[in-house]
């Protein structure tokens, strides 16, 4: 079976299944996740293996899904809740902004909320403006949430393990455009600690900081530029909270140039936070201005040609890197 492709979407189900096997308190809930196996096929096999007692189909009720997950998490379970498209997080935003992340703090540490909210994030598949947003930044604005956004199947499994085992609430963004991509199946008990960025490609001229969909895109750009003699280091953040700024600053010690590539709109994007920390603590490491390649501040359009106009592309990244190296 070694030749069978292990896809990102397989990795989601595999990552959940591994945790459900080792911990009976892990339960899943969401719309169409049971017998239907998920609209993105990211829960394939779970219902068959664990049954309706651990994999619960819900009504289309995002507040009930996330609110019930919170109540269950407070009382001894480790729920994994699916919100089908990340755009729909807006329907249960009270739970993500006001309830889940504050419960521990405002009770003086009496309550912990160990839950995972999984959701399909991002554009690239032509779903239109209400099913295509990259919304990690919504969560980034809320103290008390941990934020995970993996770029490859092995990380999906390893980060899922860490997210489910975390005693803190985690929002887990699965990028829609990456679901069909494949990679090596990670070994048993593969865990990627939250808050540890990966150096996805080593380089010496420019550091590119990327997340989820922008990681493969940046790697492609790096590959192209290698042919022009430009050596690009690509860092996959993997998590936004905790944010691994140590790896970013260490990379800048080698490269002295920084490009941040994010799919979300430039305004309020996570890249702004990365850049502000670098400006604050690593200014003397820089030999050039910082560039951000980010989405435009418009709703995601439907047509491919229009979408490419407003979200990062390989060409936009290579162009930013070329301009920096020429500075």
């Amino acid at each position: 079976m070694a030749d069978v492709k292990f896809t990102y979407r397989d990795a989601v189900a595999e990552g959940i299944a591994r945790e459900m096997r080792r911990d009976p308190s892990v339960v899943c809930l969401g719309e169409d996740i049971g017998a239907a196996e998920g609209v993105f096929k990211t829960t394939v096999g779970l219902f068959k293996e664990f049954g309706p007692g651990r994999v619960w189909d819900t009504p289309i009720s995002e507040q009930a899904i996330v609110g019930a997950a919170m109540g269950a998490a407070m009382t001894g379970m480790r729920p994994v809740a699916e919100i089908m498209f990340s755009d729909f997080l807006a329907c249960c935003w009270d739970y993500l902004a006001n309830e889940i992340p504050k419960a521990r703090y405002m009770t003086g540490g009496q309550v912990t909320v160990p839950l995972v909210v999984r959701t399909a994030n991002g554009g690239g598949l032509g779903f239109g403006a209400q099913h295509s947003q990259a919304v990690e930044n919504w969560a980034l604005a809320v103290p008390g949430l941990k934020i995970v956004a993996p770029s490859n199947p092995a990380d999906v499994v390893g980060l899922m393990a860490a997210a489910i085992r975390s005693d803190d609430p985690v929002v887990f963004f699965e990028h829609k455009a990456l679901l069909a991509g494949s990679g090596p199946r990670p070994p048993d008990d593969h865990v990627v600690e939250l808050g540890q960025a990966a150096v996805a490609r080593e380089g010496t001229d420019v550091t590119v900081v990327a997340l989820a969909s922008t990681v493969p895109l940046s790697l492609k750009a790096a590959e192209q530029l290698a042919g022009e003699g430009i050596s690009v280091e690509v860092i996959d953040l993997r998590c936004l909270i905790p944010l691994d700024m140590r790896t970013v600053l260490r990379s800048l010690e080698r490269t002295s140039r920084l490009v941040v590539v994010e799919e979300n709109p430039y305004q309020g994007g996570w890249g702004g936070t990365v850049v502000s920390v670098v400006a604050d603590e690593g200014f003397e490491l820089l030999d050039a201005p910082i560039k951000r390649v980010a989405g435009a501040n418009v709703p995601l359009p439907f047509a491919d040609s229009l979408e490419a106009e407003v979200i990062p592309t390989v060409d936009k990244v290579t162009e930013a890197i070329r301009r920096l190296t020429a500075y």
């Binding site: 919170m70 379970m77 009770t107 905790p242 691994d244």
Partner: protein, 325 residues
Amino acid sequence: MTPDELLDAYAEMVLIRRTEKAAHDLFMSGLVKGTTHLAAGHEAVAVGASAALHPDDYVFATYRGHHHALARGATPEECLAELMSRSTGLCQAKGGSMHLTKASKGMLGSYAIVGAHLPMAAGAAWSAKLRGSGQVAVAFFGDGATNIGAFHEALNLAAVWSLPVLFVCENNLYMEYTPIEAVTAVPNPAADRAAGYNMPAEIIDGNDVVVVWETVARAAERARKGDGPTLIEAQTYRHFGHSRADPAKYRPADEVERWMKHDPLDVARARLEALGVSPDTIAERDRRAAATVDAAIAAAKNAPEPEPAMAFTDVWADGGAAWRT
């Protein structure tokens, strides 16, 4: 309820009334900041329900939740210390009046976003069902919450999953400053919605602690047997306005008078006397409650404020607040 149980319930209601009076007085003298939403008048709902529940059952309340925290076993001292921003407060002065929580007693929080805690209570009941623990969860909420989407989502989920949860509406006739009938399409804001979720509902006198106790005990028994959720609409009345900013002048005088004559403490006292409990025995419990609250006020006033470093603890389960490595 036996005479002794009723006497204890009465004493608990007196303790809550006195604590609420203390909260009011401390607010007026500048020792409680922010705001308070007093539950004076609602005591029978909290005390009757608590008397009917097991110690390990779960309770979720609203920003008007002093009475629920106290009825579940939070002490007047830790509640008043919390309101006065003292380090000995129930939530180490990080919660305040609207967030009284005593997790060790099953009081899993007071939530200040209207209706938000109903799905949480359903979730705690789901957890109890998954674990086969026999516990039930109770969500107390106001009439105003019945027009929030989360109310409807929680009721539907609880019904389709047959969860051991009780939804207890404290219908005090006013959604903040507005009469509930002015903004609600049905006369009984909670109970009239239950049919939509195939859920049994009862409308009860929420100022009679014995009636609340009987109703909640019956519904909890039903839930423990696996027969699913119940909706209880307990009719009651606020003695004060919505919050400290509200003198409640919009309420008709005859309405106020009618409800003040139906004070839950008086109703319980009349029941005790009818059972042959002597006025001296009742007066003794009144004195004990007064002494407890007086001591609580003094202790809370003398407690220190939290250290500034406390602002940076308990965001995460490891106790800290670091967002980056």
